[in-house]
């Protein structure tokens, strides 16, 4: 183990010993979740420090009704272009992957722009891009919409299920029944949003909030910073992400989001409606809004019977506390999105967690 890492683990242990209280840190982003598991970081944390996962896996928080909307488009002969991670998420009437298996036209995108190419190559067909993800992927969707307008591409539209991180974090920070001592915030979201939208955590809720990148070194540094703030009784918003996060964020991306999207309420799978937590297309880009073009009515989905993804996504339970975990629900036959997504908490526990399996 490299020396600086050993030093960080040591520092964490000392700080944890000094402040006797138990600390529960919520990592908001699914990439943090997976990195903490895959790197074995969770197993080197002091006993009194606990990492719980938050609502930051884009696939997991996409509401069942939203997936149904995409499936209904496929049944109408529309080409749906989606990020690969969405493919396997089960919904009441199937998944993008199972629909592809039945011969419907679903394409994998690694960037939103892939949808533009698909639309150009299939001028006779309607092409819909499934816009999911947070502030990190929303600008790419905005660019796609702008490009489609500039090039006059009429057969492309966007189903925007993009979500905004701060309102969800706020909902959790204020929830009476979840005891969170601090937040670990994703660096790549903050690169776009800047620091400001997360300052309320320290200011209003008195919670340490630390922005960090995804590698285990960064997470460890953030944990040290959190432990330090807690011992000092001085919560604040800090970044260990270095210069990539400018306090004011990425003005260009923010401008783009503003131009193309308007803020609206959004439904988070398993959590429910959170005010101002989503991005819908602005009226002047309405021509590219698939909801409008296909007169879609999105009915809030009911989670599969017994699935407790909502409680997992809000840190109320850990996956092994779900009765279906590892019994009825496994990566091979997932019941909820938290098991299927590569960033889902249930899947991460299943793949990487040892104690429960012996």
């Amino acid at each position: 183990m490299p020396g600086d890492l050993r030093a960080a683990v040591e520092a964490l242990r000392r700080l944890a010993e000094e402040s006797a209280t138990a600390v529960t840190v919520m990592e908001v982003c699914g990439t943090h979740t997976v990195s903490a598991f895959r790197s074995g970081l969770r197993s080197v944390l002091p006993k009194s420090m606990r990492l719980i996962s938050g609502p930051g896996c884009p696939v997991c928080v996409t509401d069942q009704g939203e997936i149904e909307a995409a499936l209904s488009l496929l049944r109408r002969g529309v080409v749906v272009v989606a990020y690969g991670d969405m493919f396997k998420v089960p919904s009441a009437s199937g998944s993008l992957a199972s629909m592809r298996g039945e011969g419907h036209d679903v394409r994998t995108a690694t960037s939103a722009m892939d949808a533009l190419r698909v639309a150009e190559e299939n001028p006779g067909r309607e092409v819909v891009f499934l816009g999911v993800g947070f502030e990190t992927t929303a600008p790419a969707t905005a660019t796609l919409v702008r490009e489609a307008r500039r090039k006059g591409i009429a057969n492309l539209s966007v189903l925007s299920f993009h979500k905004r991180t701060p309102p969800a974090v706020e909902a959790l920070a204020g929830a009476a029944d979840v005891q969170i001592s601090a937040f670990l915030l994703p660096g790549h979201v903050s690169v776009i949003t800047g620091h400001e939208p997360f300052r309320f955590l320290a200011d209003r809720f008195g919670l340490p909030a630390v922005i960090a990148g995804f590698d285990p070194e960064q997470i460890l540094l953030a944990m040290v910073e959190i432990a330090r703030q807690i011992r000092a009784g001085a919560p604040e918003l800090r970044s260990v992400y270095g210069t990539a996060v400018r306090p004011e964020g990425n003005r260009k991306a923010l401008g783009l989001l503003d131009e193309v999207f308007s803020v609206r309420d959004a439904r988070w799978r398993g959590i429910g409606l959170i005010p101002d937590s989503g991005y819908g297309l602005r009226g002047d880009y309405g021509d590219f809004d698939a909801e409008r073009r296909f007169s879609l009515v999105i009915v809030p989905g009911t989670p599969p019977a017994g699935c407790r993804c909502g409680d997992v996504l809000t840190g109320r339970i850990t996956p092994p506390q779900c009765p279906l975990f590892r019994t009825a629900c496994t990566p091979l036959s997932p019941v909820g999105p938290c098991m299927v997504s590569s960033e889902g908490t249930c899947g991460a526990y299943f793949r990487f967690h040892r104690e429960e399996r012996t």
């Binding site: 890492l5 990439t31 690694t110 040892r354």
Partner: protein, 331 residues
Amino acid sequence: MTERVSLSHGSGGRQSQQIVAELLAPFTRRGIGPELEDAALLPGGYAMTVDGFTVSPRTFPGGDIGHLCVCGCVNDLAARGASPDFLGLGLVIEEGFSAEELRTYMESAARTCADLGTVLAAGDTKVVPVGGVDGVLITGCAFGRVQTPHPLSLGNLRPGDHIVVSTSIGRHGATIAASRFNLDVVGLESDCAPLWPAVRPLLALDGLRCMRDCTRGGLGTVLCEWAEGSGVHVALDEESIPLSPQVRSLCDVLGFDPLYMACEGCMAVAVDASQTDRLLALLRASPLCGEAAVIGQVTGGEPKGMVSMRTLIGGERLVDMPTGELLPRIC
């Protein structure tokens, strides 16, 4: 029972196992099914394997589908200690496919065979209408003589054995992923290579337990199968697993775990610990295996049938068999 075949059934992990078992059932029921190893050991000291190849792109840094097909078949035989004596090739070609391109692949397949002394013994071509196959599908069948005194098998692992890899992992999978996702990674090349010359000298070691070329599903999948097949716990040490900076950075970008990235020129080997040094020296004599390293050990402990890993930061985690296709993460 599987209703429809999906891409995840072809990804080498848990679902592949499942569909293979279903498809073989009519044979196993009648007692005429194969053992589930890289190549079959036949009476009379022969070994045989069949492997089909479609790859997109068909030409990639470090090889093409012709070379890949020969390497894949040869390495399956090599993993069971058999020489690549004869090859059969079956081509399914889409109408309209460039004959020039086909000749290129046959040329590179022939070059690889000639280097190994492998003779093309049989072949078949079929042409199907447009859309019947995506370009070309090549299936290879290789046949050779087993040159080990006792059979190498994934059921042979014993506590104390060392796990060795012959080179750095994941280069083929990473190369293909890089071109599929339009990522330009300087210096990234497939490891696609025939391993028979490199592993042949190992066959003299009586402590050699098992070999496997880590293809689809990568090193992680192979080791999970070994742990399951031998009912033992395998403990890996992440720090000692050779990994090129190119594969590491590609995996970082796409959110992939290098342990599950396909290799086409990397052999995993289990060996009695008393013969590890000798094995490493023999392997490293091959230009393909300069990075050969001990990456873990079979233990008598728990959890049996599973693989765990001591991570770079000194933590512990499980290494599970992957399920489904490898798909890049969203953000």
